[in-house]
């Protein structure tokens, strides 16, 4: 063991070496999380990221693979998929959907700009 600290007073003053030691720990945490985030990307190619270790669905939204495990109303959904798919392809956008989204964004921006140019006109339209 490294031994105990200086009690509550440890928050008051610290030298540079302590700061360096703390920074080392923060870097280590960042490194651990970075490895995990990178692994999460890989794992998600073959398993839905919302599916937990007990195959329960943790998503806040509906999915066609959700299955009730029992009769209980409060019971969590189970994932009914065999789990061997790249979930991201299910969410990949159709080119037409992308185009629609692009046009929608254009419209949002041009309407907002027009409204800013003549606020009284847009008020009147409302």
């Amino acid at each position: 063991m490294r031994g105990t600290g200086q009690g509550p007073s440890q928050t008051l003053t610290m030298d540079d070496s302590k700061q360096a030691e703390l920074r080392k720990r923060l870097d280590r945490i960042s490194e651990i999380f970075g490895t995990m985030a990178s692994h999460a990307e890989d794992v998600s190619q073959s398993r839905c990221p919302y599916r937990d270790r007990l195959d329960r669905c943790t998503a806040l939204f509906s999915c066609r693979n959700q299955r009730k495990a029992g009769d209980g109303e409060t019971e969590a959904f189970q994932c009914g998929h065999d789990g061997t798919f790249d979930y991201r392809s299910a969410w990949e956008s159709h080119p037409l959907s992308h185009e629609k989204a692009r046009l929608r964004i254009q419209k949002i921006r041009s309407e907002a700009e027009a409204a800013r140019r003549s606020p009284s006109d847009s008020d009147a339209q409302e």
Binding site: G5, K18, F33, R47, R51, W91, R109
Partner: protein, 247 residues
């Protein structure tokens, strides 16, 4: 050389016995935990179980008892997260469990932050994070929050289905200089544009950097909606955040 039986905490013994299969890692963890205080083992066990309330209480208790912050980080929080990392790599647990453990880590780190500040280590910046209105997908955003938090940013999580007003209110309340918006659907992605326009209408667009991400979002879309940055995953999100704040 230490033995598994030298570890006092039953949960930690079980975790190592059951999930740490590579001998070198097993030896390292047995060595580590067998020399740590029971309270540090408790913190690590609570973190592995994703019990953020217990990690919160135990970390506070440890610091109040005068245990050094470095020891709490090394032997409690980081040691516990090390086991979580191994379990994730070996497919004993998955993304939802990792995110629970990351939240538990954050609960413990909350008590370390004043000590970091006292040593001159301040958060890199405050980031407001949310999935946009109409969208309930949160894994990508949560991974970004995990990464940002682990990289030294203070994160305010607005959750899912977040309106433009909620983003604006949070920026003003927390004096944040960075906003991260996520969307997973082409139907909800345009709401990022609505939110950016709302920032302009409020007259605070120049005071905040806005980054966007999510499966259908591309650099081109980010530009089209007037965002300042785009990240395709959690790692890029951190790079973007640092670049936007010129860190």
């Amino acid at each position: 050389m230490s033995e598994l039986s030298d570890i006092t905490n039953a949960t930690i013994r079980h975790e190592i016995e059951e999930y740490v299969e590579i001998q070198k890692e097993r030896d390292r963890n047995v060595e580590l935990f067998s020399r740590t205080q029971p309270l540090m083992q408790e913190i690590a066990a609570a973190l592995i179980e994703g019990d953020n309330e217990l990690v919160d209480q135990l970390t506070l208790r440890a610091l109040d008892a005068g245990i050094d912050a470095l020891e709490v980080m090394d032997d409690g929080l980081i040691a516990g997260m090390g086991i979580v990392g191994i379990k994730f790599r070996e497919a004993f647990i998955f993304v939802p469990e990792v995110l629970s453990c990351a939240r538990a880590m954050k609960a413990g780190m909350k008590h370390i932050e004043p000590i970091l500040s006292a040593s001159g280590i301040e958060p890199l910046g405050t980031v407001i994070m949310g999935t946009v209105k109409g969208d309930l997908h949160d894994i990508g955003k949560n991974l970004c929050i995990m990464m940002l938090g682990g990289s030294g940013f203070e994160c305010v999580d607005l959750g899912v289905d977040t309106t433009a007003d909620e983003f604006i209110d949070a920026v003003e309340e927390h004096q944040a200089s960075l906003v991260g918006m996520s969307a997973l659907l082409t139907t909800t992605m345009p709401y990022m544009g609505v939110t950016i326009e709302a920032f302009i209408d409020q007259g605070i667009r120049d005071e905040v950097q806005i980054m966007v991400g999510g499966a259908p979002v591309t650099e081109e879309f980010a530009d089209a909606m007037g965002a300042d940055g785009y990240g395709k995953d959690a790692l890029e999100c951190v790079e973007q955040a640092k670049a936007l704040l010129k860190l």
